[in-house]
């Protein structure tokens, strides 16, 4: 699974870090960091993160 976040869209809402905390995290500067190649066991959580992103910046490729 490949995860891409459109950082031009991202507004640091942080909802992805609630849905998939092992893949997305907000660092101490308030900026998003994420694992672009998460384990397939994270698929459900990553899909949830993509769903709840207010600006729909998260893309999942198989």
């Amino acid at each position: 699974m490949k995860v891409t976040v459109d950082m031009a869209l991202c507004q640091d809402h942080g909802q992805c870090a609630i849905a998939a905390p092992d893949v997305f995290a907000i660092n101490d500067d308030g900026k998003l960091e994420y694992e672009p190649h998460p384990d397939d066991s994270e698929r459900f959580a990553v899909e949830e993160a993509a769903d709840v992103c207010p600006v729909q910046a998260i893309m999942i490729e198989d």
Partner: protein, 414 residues
């Protein structure tokens, strides 16, 4: 036996999420999504903010190129029918009547279904004040947004009626674009039903310092003008000169097509905790018209008008409907989503978890309400129980901790 057919009535976020979650829940039969709008499901929150302010988003196609939701491959075989309004439904027979709306060839017909998802959402409430219609706008669809944009290409005197979240977002956006903005709200300080009086007043003062005027107390009784609105008349006798009126006075559930079905549509669609419509066998409701009890708070069914709710409710309603069409009761743990919303207003970002609007007491836990940009946290209690949290301009890294303060009944048992 053929696979059961599911009709999803409503073609916005709730309808899309319902279709996705039906597939995720193992439904392999046909799914048809009926949407009255001409467009594929798109994201509405930017309509009061980025899109309203973006000089490049001049037409629906350009705006929608950025707002349209990506569709999962799992819904590739779902039949999306846009510009199609469902007129009525016979739940006993499992049949709905539809007609095409908008530009294309007029057509109408009936379709049979085995299971039904009600996802027709809300439409803006309109003011009943008499006077000219021209110059009065609402914000719900992309067309609404573009109509309003076209009316504010030059500096305008704008009156926003209603100081809820959408009214305040639109007021801040238009103020930042250089328009002269007045917000009229009869029921109290902006967003006070959710924020509580102290925080609402602090937000009002904050917005006033940016140059937005608030008229709190009186309501609009009439509009005046020859062919378009030029004055708003308030019930205390004030007359506000105005070029553009934005009506942001709440929403009405689109449930007229369910008349006569036996469903409780007094305020949205009454469901049980599984989102199964009360009074029907194979019907679920999804999105901001679903009136469901949330055991996080109590057993009172409520509609929740947050952006997160279509996604949350679809995840429960889909497995419920899959069970119901197979003649089973859904055997699922209690559905207790943590409500969550955000709002961007000029230099303020609101983030809420839980249901702060239920509270009878609000405590400022962090920060100073006279300095909102530096960060303020309020905790909202009902009868001593923590029911909601509002964070203003707190670091996003705090959100998980704030959200996790609301553990679901299921999580609590684990």
């Amino acid at each position: 036996m053929d696979h059961p057919r599911i009709a999803v009535v409503g073609g916005s976020l709730a309808g899309l999420r319902a279709a996705e979650q039906l597939r995720a829940s193992g439904h392999v039969g046909p799914v048809t999504v009926y949407g009255a709008e001409a467009h594929a499901p798109y994201n509405r929150p930017p309509l009061s903010k980025d899109v309203l302010a973006d000089p490049a988003a001049l037409d629906a196609e350009t705006a929608l190129s950025r707002l349209t939701f990506r569709r999962r491959s799992s819904v590739g075989d779902v039949d999306f029918r846009f510009s199609t309004e469902v007129l009525g439904v016979d739940l006993g027979a499992g049949r709905l009547d539809w007609r095409s709306v908008g530009g294309g060839d007029p057509a109408e017909g009936s379709d049979d279904f085995d299971g039904l998802v009600v996802a027709t959402g809300l439409r803006p409430r309109r003011l009943s004040a008499p006077g000219p219609e021209r110059g009065r706008y609402v914000l719900r669809t992309v067309e609404d947004c573009l109509d309003l944009r076209a009316a504010v290409t030059a500096p305008r005197r704008v009156v926003v009626v209603g100081a809820g979240f959408i009214g305040c977002e639109a007021a801040c956006t238009l103020d930042a674009l250089g328009h002269d903005v007045t917000v009229v709200e009869p029921t109290g300080a902006p967003m006070n039903r959710v924020l509580g009086e102290q925080l609402a007043l602090a937000v009002q003062r904050h917005h006033e310092r940016r140059g937005i005027r608030f008229v709190i107390g009186p309501g609009v009784t009439a509009f005046e003008g020859s062919d378009r609105v030029s004055e708003a008349v308030l019930d205390d006798g004030q007359r506000l000169p105005v070029d553009v009126v934005i009506e942001a006075v709440g929403s009405i559930p689109n449930t007229e097509w369910l008349a006569g079905t036996g469903l409780d549509v007094v305020d949205g669609v009454l469901t049980d905790n599984d989102l199964a419509a009360v009074g029907a066998d194979r019907v679920v409701a999804v999105g901001d018209l679903a009136r469901f009890p949330n055991p996080l708070f109590d057993d009172v069914p409520r509609r929740v008008e947050h952006w997160s709710i279509p996604t949350d409710t679809a995840k429960r309603a889909a497995p419920t409907l899959v069970a119901l069409v197979e003649g089973r009761r859904p055997e699922l743990p209690p559905f207790a989503p943590v409500p969550s919303f955000w709002s961007d207003q000029a230099d303020l970002r609101f983030q809420s978890f839980g249901s702060p609007g239920l509270a009878d007491e609000v405590v400022v836990a962090e920060g100073d309400p006279d300095d909102l940009t530096a960060g303020v946290l309020t905790l909202h209690h009902r009868a001593g129980q923590h029911v909601g949290t509002v964070a203003l301009n707190l670091p996003p890294a705090r959100q998980r901790e704030l959200r996790d303060a609301f553990v679901t009944p299921t999580e609590a048992r684990n």
